[in-house]
Symmetry: D3
Subunit: 243 residues, 6 copies
């Protein structure tokens, strides 16, 4: 029987590391095949350190960013990583690019998907990608889109943690204990050589989310200890047989 699967839609090539690297590695360890789509390399807007070097070119930046992302993907045991190379700042998604993302969604048939927060006044690429992901999800569900293909079901879409959560109107409703795979995430984080200023920041985030994990699993009477966690906001209601 085929593995379970998950799909991450990342605007820039490093987003999947900071924001859901733990979820990726954890589900990989649970037997999921996790696919990551990087819509751009973040080559223009998230590579300041590279651009400060003499004689830098767009191609070199993209190559470098791709290398980092592939290394990180390996560290996280990503099953497949695809680069759409759509450009960034602004990231523009043509109909063809949407169709390509729909193809991936149908091919992967994910149990869940992940993408960016709905709002981001610092980084409009992020919020556009969030909306396009919902749009592509609807197309992938349409029986009349490439009739004959297996349509997409109704996978949850989790919005992973943005930078400055409160400014993005992002509110986590789910905390995931990533303690067992923290080493993987930390290794992946260190692959992001150009953004070393964010390493410690996201280590702090993971530790503090673990505090939230404990608080919500047991209050003052204890709660389950977790050393590292990640938070996610769900777009759709859950359907359950027991609360």
């Amino acid at each position: 029987m085929a593995n379970k699967t998950a799909l991450i839609v990342s605007a820039h090539s490093a987003d999947f590391v900071w924001r859901c690297g733990g979820a990726i590695a954890l589900h990989a360890s649970l037997g999921y095949d996790v696919t990551v789509v990087c819509l751009s390399y973040g080559e223009r807007g998230e590579s300041a350190k590279l651009w400060k070097k003499e004689g830098m070119t767009l191609e070199t930046v993209k190559t470098e960013r791709r290398r980092e992302a592939e290394n990180a993907a390996k560290a996280l045991n990503v099953h497949d990583i695809e680069f759409f190379d759509l450009g960034d700042y602004p990231l523009e998604m043509t109909r063809a690019a949407k169709d390509r993302l729909v193809d991936v969604m149908r091919k992967v048939q994910p149990s869940f998907m992940m993408t960016h927060s709905k709002y981001d006044p610092y980084n409009t690429d992020h919020m556009y990608v969030s909306q396009w992901t919902l749009e592509c999800r609807a197309i992938a569900q349409a029986w009349g889109h490439n009739p004959g293909e297996k349509v997409l079901g109704a996978p949850q879409v989790y919005l992973f943690e943005p930078h400055q959560t409160e400014q993005m109107d992002w509110k986590p409703d789910t905390f995931l204990d990533i303690t067992p795979v923290w080493d993987n995430k930390w290794a992946a984080i260190q692959c992001m050589e150009g953004q070393e200023h964010l390493w410690h920041y996201y280590e702090n985030v993971a530790q503090n989310r673990a505090n939230h994990f404990a608080r919500n699993s047991g209050g003052q009477s204890g709660g389950r200890a977790a050393k590292y966690a990640e938070g996610f906001q769900s777009i759709y209601p859950r359907t359950v047989d027991e609360l």
Copy 2:
């Protein structure tokens, strides 16, 4: 080993039937001991049909409402039902009443609790009870409240479905399939003899929530068929080991 438990905090004696009767019966069938607290009988504000009878008295209304609630509780296989008799319209919760509710919370040690929506401009009793339930949950967690007792953990609080959901700013994030216990809920609903005008209304609600269950479990490609469902809004984030 002791059964799992759940606790329902109902402002008036019929609320637990319309709003979470299915959840009660389902979890009873799963082996949970479900306790229901009715803070009032709804004797003044939700018993119009009785008051239209000649010579009606408050005591008669309360007796009648209690009888109906006890019958409904039986139909739902409620483990225990307690009546606080605090009065209604307005329902006022003294410190003593709060302490009593805290006692129940600690005694029951519920896996989850349920109560009313945060806002209700039609029925302020409902929204006050929602807030008091959170207040009592915090007290029940306090180590210095009746030191020596087992403090409460961090059970989820689900807000059950109010009447006119959109006016109450209530948004369900969880749908529960209650098809297996619909007969119990329908029987309990029919115990509410004084509010026959609501029977069919809540049958419709259950059917349409089943449609939402299917839609969210599988989109256009199918989804799991459910005939009856209930929706709930969570106050706190979930803590999980797999998404």
Copy 3:
């Protein structure tokens, strides 16, 4: 046949003038009997000018404020004005005071009611009164409250315009043309001798709301000219037979 009626619940004795004086006078001119309840005189918190006078006492302030309010009520053709004298800053509403307001609601049987905005971080009296009005409305609808009395129906509750609307999260959904009765409102405003600094402010408000009236009744192609208007936010949905 009896006149139509309306009921205004005003935290302090001047609120009904600034915030809905036009609505009062207009409906009086349409044959409504409009009752105003002033829960307090605003004697402590809204009478700075009086308190700056030598030797001022609470009783004198209350007497003065009452006189102003009665004069304003006359100017607006108010049918009845009642002073509950509950004190202000903070205005505290006991169960007895709630019962008294319920009595008024049942006696008046208003077609609509008006009160303060839901939120007001400058003036907590206002926001508490808004909530208590909803609470009393629910009690007044309860068949078991003073059985035998005629219960209240389901009158709309309009929230009238607060000071600094945006800070109060107040959003008008209804604009009322008060041009025909502006002279009455202006006369009533001038009865508020202690708050002369607000006269011109609320004249500006009325003129600008008239601009909104025109804008919403006809866009750039015209709209109905209005010179003075008031805005209101509805709590409940309307029920109609034609849109």
Copy 4:
């Protein structure tokens, strides 16, 4: 004198039936000429049943969906129905298509318009159409757009009921009694042969909205009985001469 008019902007060819079929038939019975614009047939995304048939083609689906919509329009006494055939999932609105919709708005000069909710994470076509309708309304009001034409006034835009209202942040502020024309709506619903699974769902919706109609027109003391109703959310404030 010309009839009053109304304009419905429907993303897919069945939306106008489920969501405002009653409003259409009722206003037709009141003498309004109601025009419906179907921007697409919903041929790709809302025709699963047809696509499951062997050998289905896009043209056949569109023909079938158009036939159903025309039959439904007849059942509702629609004055005019126009199909823009813009495609669906995703529905893309070019400048030319916007101009065409502006032309319709100006030709119809509606007393009110209706369209989709502002947000819909299940169906991005819906939320885009909602925004485009507002955009086209603004263009239609512009004196410099096709100068010489009669510009549009300021018709209300009602957002009709989406599927899963709470997930769409949709809150009705107006309930319309459609009891007198329920037979028309039910007949129109049954024209939607490919979506039989939704017939009973929207019958339930209409019955429960009638409960809300009664509740808001009269509270516990009665309220006007209605058997079927529809709910709508207004975008703009109303302008009135009596509350």
Copy 5:
């Protein structure tokens, strides 16, 4: 040393006058070089008075609107005003236009920027411009966009006051005393010959915002008197060394 600078992004050629004319003139008086970008002339949608004249052409309207805007800019001591001439109703911003706005942002290196509210159901041009301004701000910060140029820092973006603030979900968090430059603003307002119906409206706005200035600077005990003020909503948090 170079002057401080500010940048105003105005959808139509009059917006900067009504909405932030005071802020412009005040900062000019403080030594700022203020640049205004008018993305369109508002020639189609905000020039009704001109279009009502016989034989009017688009070019004439644009010329007239430009003349008015230039006069107003002079009255406000604007340092530079640029007209992008992108058309209006709808205002469409191509990638080239975005790049041009990015160029201006980088050239000006503003201490702060100003633009429209996030939401405007009356005027979709406004809300699109608000979003595009954030998008261009992000591009202007990207080291890989035109490498070698000085990138933009992190200037605050203030949303200036829209018409009908409550309908736009606009909430001011900053009031600016413009009393010293009111004469400039009033002169600029009078340059808008085609929109005389708005002159007095915005005079009222300025007076009432001055009341809010006083209220927030000193409560009932006084507050600083201001005769005219403007309000702004900030997008980003402030960073300070003293509260």
Copy 6:
């Protein structure tokens, strides 16, 4: 000339340390006299570690908590700390307690005040205190409350950072660089012997808020480096003479 002043209203005796210890120490270093009011000791609900010891009594817990708070206050150079000893879980504020807080507000005449977030479903004490602080601020401004006393002006109220910010609907709009006084805050944190599990958590918070400080002061081009910062949400608009 008298020093500037500030007033912190803390529900439990440790809140002022975690949530605004940096702001206190920084303003003390700037010459402010900072007063802290601890409404309770948090003796029942926030002293789990103490209660786990054999033979613990309420008085001992209170003594211990007071000692910790006084030590922390010293470390932060607090000017004055007052303990109202109102009890906690639930913290109940009588009219007399409100009057006492009003007295402090008037005595201190603070330039700004600080208190808890508006919403907190984990800790209702916090949200009630937030509301009561606004209520007391309004009373303190009332000329008729203890006539003759100097009334309060209109100090800003900053809501300091709660635990699990997103669950509390708290959004910071102001970041304060506390790097120069971090040693004081860290020393004060270590005075909270009973809550050692939170020390590192709030160190992480301070570091990550410093990242936000840098991000908002300069974007990708730099921003001012800060090692530790605190975030605050303002209740009222600012009034300024330059943006």
